[in-house]
């Protein structure tokens, strides 16, 4: 079990993370962008129309990956909040700071594409059902994480308050996920579930899978890059950073 502790301590070191993460950023950017281009071209240009939705089905290839990713980003932020509150790990705080605005953008993409899809298919762009409202709340939570930090003057207090909000907000995630099963929502239940045969035909499933992976990789690259920027900001006076700058 020693390696868990070692990894934990290494990840906690801004220096270790900063000096080693640059190739990851470039790799994730290139690989993610490539997948998104392939998946989107495939989904928007080559997939057949759906039997009821027609061409509106193409929005799925942006909407579903964005919505899924938004939840994943929040879970990562909540875990970081937990780690920061218990162990006071600086890197966890910086991760929240780096990922919150990105999570907000991704959630807005999910909401916007959902509205665009809803207008022709549902007959309305917005309904106040459990899925849409909990996703809207997710966007507010991301925004709140950014706003709360700016509202509190002392950085150490701000970090603690933000971490606590990040942690408490995680109860929203199971609500988003299961809202379509617990409540009568206009939003459809999931088409893909673990242990079940997908209710979505393979022609739609493949480009969707490519885009989901592409979104995850690309945004992981963006988060790491943002985290590196935070490290530079906070460790501006550190000797190792000066040495690194001179060296490269």
């Amino acid at each position: 079990m020693g390696w868990i502790k070692t990894t934990f301590h290494k990840t906690g070191s801004p220096r270790w993370f900063f000096t080693g993460s640059r190739p990851w950023v470039i790799g994730l950017y290139v690989f993610g962008a490539l997948l998104i281009v392939i998946g989107s071209t495939w989904g928007l240009g080559f997939v057949p129309a759906e039997r009821l939705q027609g061409n509106s089905v193409r929005i799925l290839f942006i909407h579903a990956p964005a919505a899924h990713l938004a939840e994943a980003i929040y879970v990562a932020i909540a875990i970081a909040g937990f780690v920061f509150l218990v162990w006071r790990m600086k890197m966890a705080d910086m991760l929240i700071q780096a990922a919150a605005p990105i999570g907000f953008v991704v959630t807005v993409v999910a909401l916007a594409t959902g509205i665009i899809w809803g207008i022709p298919t549902w007959g309305t762009g917005w309904v106040w059902d459990a899925r849409t409202v909990s996703t809207l709340l997710l966007a507010f939570l991301f925004f709140g994480l950014v706003a709360l930090r700016q509202a509190i003057e002392r950085p150490d207090r701000a970090s603690r308050a933000v971490a606590l909000l990040a942690l408490v907000g995680v109860v929203n995630i199971p609500i988003i996920k299961y809202s379509v099963e617990w409540f009568t929502t206009l939003h459809q239940p999931p088409s893909i579930e673990i242990g079940k045969k997908p209710a979505i035909a393979a022609v739609f499933l493949w480009p969707l899978a490519v885009n989901v992976l592409g979104f995850y990789c690309f945004v992981a690259g963006v988060v790491i890059a943002a985290l590196r920027a935070r490290i530079v900001e906070r460790e501006a006076g550190a000797k190792w950073l000066r040495d690194w700058t001179v060296k490269s």
Binding site: L85, W122, G123, L186
Partner: protein, 155 residues
């Protein structure tokens, strides 16, 4: 774990537990109270109020959809496939998913003579995604319940 960390861990776990419990109770309360939706049976037996904005829903009766010769007006009936049926009148664009035999939701007011004046017609999509050509192919071959059959055999 050292003492302050253990204390912080306890506080954090308490906060998570507390907020989860609060939210669960709130959701439970909501689930019991949200009851603005009227099934066809409750519309026909007079349980649904007249002249008040309500939501109702069911399946569109096959062959009941009648578009006005001019304009966007449309009339159709909604059923629960259990002998309860009511007429709906709507002026506006119908959603893409509006199909005879499919489930829809309407918002609007019930008149005294049992006609539902809809201000909004919403169609719910299910979790099944089936390509159009494939669907037509199966339908041309004359297979009954093709959509349902396809959904269990995607691709």
């Amino acid at each position: 774990m050292r003492q302050p960390r253990r204390r912080r861990l306890a506080v954090v776990l308490f906060v998570i537990g507390g907020s989860t419990a609060t939210l669960s109770l709130a959701l439970l309360a909501l689930q019991e109270n949200v009851d603005l939706f009227y099934e066809p049976a409750r519309v026909t037996n007079g349980e649904a109020p007249v002249g008040v904005d309500i939501r109702a829903g069911g399946m569109v009766v096959e062959g009941s959809v009648a578009h006005d010769p001019e304009g966007l007006g449309v009339a159709f009936s909604i059923t629960d496939h259990g002998g309860h049926e009511f007429k709906v009148r709507y002026v506006g664009l119908l959603p893409d998913l509006f199909k005879e035999g499919k489930g829809i939701m309407v918002r609007g007011q019930l008149t005294a003579d049992g006609l539902f004046n809809a201000s909004e017609v919403l169609a719910k999509h299910d979790e099944n995604y089936v390509p159009r050509e494939f669907h037509d192919m199966v339908e041309d071959a004359g297979l009954a319940g093709s959509a349902q059959a396809l959904s269990t055999e995607p691709g």
